[in-house]
Symmetry: D2
Subunit: 191 residues, 4 copies
């Protein structure tokens, strides 16, 4: 079981980088191999069909596609920007969706969000399901929302609240279990 994991934030001090690192640790503890990527590895220009037609798919998008294809499942931790997902993350999905075969189809995906607010990125998480599921990704119904994330991590990078840490571990285990059951076994229906 190989998992591609990244935080959909370019900021070095991102709370979502901290959260995805913990999710990666939990996945490794559950026996998975984790490719923990930096979102900067996939920096892409703004999507423009004219650019695609003249210059093709940009290399960082092809790199993201290769990494998705090498993985058996996907974990994304994302900030909420303006009551929805970040434009940067959707721009990456828009480019990836143009590649054939489209690597998100049939993938299993676990979503997380860290946010300083009380709401914990919930509006982002629910919005983000729609493009992913529309593209045929199995998004785990269970999602991890970390509210007040600016106060949630200790100096060692661990979650201060043991209950939240337990929930993260349990959800990552369920995700790996589900990915093991589904990955590569579900045929693609005409959609």
């Amino acid at each position: 079981m190989k998992i591609l994991a990244f935080a959909a934030s370019l900021r070095a001090a991102s709370l979502n980088r901290k959260l995805i690192a913990l999710a990666a640790d939990a996945a490794r503890a559950a026996g998975a191999e984790v490719d923990l990527a930096d979102f900067h590895e996939f920096d892409m220009p703004l999507y423009d069909q004219d650019v695609q037609d003249s210059a093709g798919i940009p290399e960082p998008c092809l790199e993201l596609c290769r990494r998705i294809e090498l993985a058996d499942a996907l974990m994304i931790s994302t900030p909420e920007y303006n009551f929805s997902f970040p434009g940067t993350l959707k721009n990456a999905i828009d480019w990836v969706s143009r590649v054939k075969p489209m690597p998100l189809k049939g993938q299993v995906c676990y979503l997380l969000a860290a946010s300083p607010s009380l709401v914990g990125g919930l509006r982002c998480l629910w919005h983000l399901r729609q493009p992913l599921e529309g593209l045929g990704t199995f998004v785990l119904p269970t999602m991890y929302s970390l509210p007040q994330a600016d106060k949630a991590f200790g100096e060692d990078g661990q979650l201060v609240d043991p209950k939240r840490a337990e929930t993260l571990t349990a959800q990552v285990q369920q995700f790996i279990e589900t990915a093991n059951l589904l990955r590569g076994k579900v045929s693609s229906a005409a959609g």
Copy 2:
């Protein structure tokens, strides 16, 4: 593999009754046993916590819960009312969510929508995923949308357009395959 199937419409001449009947046929052809229910079997009062506290869960809700528990997976075909799901269907979900253990958790579900419009119930389908997934149901990413449904069925009840019929068959097969992989095998993470 036993599947509970119903149209979330009370109207006798409902287009969604026709569509779920075809989905049930496709599921049987794929080897599943289908419990094709009439939504009237689950007629419930409007949800009111005071009623729940004084009189308990109404019998038609308990009946729906039993039928869900007897099934390995769920197919629902639903009309779109006012840019979202019908209040009647959500009212049933609201009652079911109060039963312990909550039978929708861990279920696998395939959603369909028939509509006379060009839009084919898409706004309903995407809205309906949220309460179901929030309750821990695995909703198949692939959904079946039947636009212009008032002209879609022949006198024999079959879909006039062979391509649409093929898509339905392929999606139902994928659904059964997925349900076989997931059902009863995924532990429940604290949510």
Copy 3:
């Protein structure tokens, strides 16, 4: 300026009843006349087109339509049920949408939600906009979300946190101002 206000909850001890009462007070203080209704006044059967065809629109729905038409604007405080709006509220909207002329078209509406959770009913509020806006209602972009509502009210029924009380007053004033500008002045475009 006359405002119809109600909590979309049937429960006597509903937190949303408390919240809408405060919103009604704020509207009166701002010079409006408020028709504070009990949602039980609009108890309707589950929507069924066959019932509509044989028995017509039920009287409680006609009563709700009359009350909407007598008002210049609308305030609804709603609980969140299962990550969306209550089926009961949507059932009322589904019935109302069948009445001609449809009284929600062109109405101005302010939405509130009280919830014991940290999330304050946000998933409900965002979902609820869609059927209302689809029906041509001007829903104020500003919405009032009251998290941890079980601890938010004092014995006098007022909000314990003065900042939250101020926000409510300011939002209600903005709502009345907006309703004054829009009400009855916007023609209906073919939609």
Copy 4:
């Protein structure tokens, strides 16, 4: 009445460029002055808080903010990418949201979508309301959806179907009427 209008597409042959041009004509015919912008005028880097902290808001974002502030209202015609809004458009909104005072607050906005599909960009339109309304924009409930847009325009750039042309004209008139009532008159409530 001055209106900023643009298609949220970078492609030269974009169907949404054609549609926004017609909406601009309708607005001018209704007496408005229209600033019809090319989305390329607002090309921005991917949002990155570290870039913002070190280099400030990029000039094309400041230009977009100035153009919004010079306008009394906003018309955006947008393609649907992957069941939601384009990442490019959201990236622009994410940058704009960081500018103080935030120019989208209190703006009146009319949304359109052209799409070759039968669905006419509806999933995009409904998703796009959420970040805009969350930021305090009054988004007109009426939206214009143009399905099968690849066949909808004649060689003269007009809509072939006279009914669709009439609807566009009527909606633009309603938008201008609403913008006239609201613009600059609504105070900002604490949100």
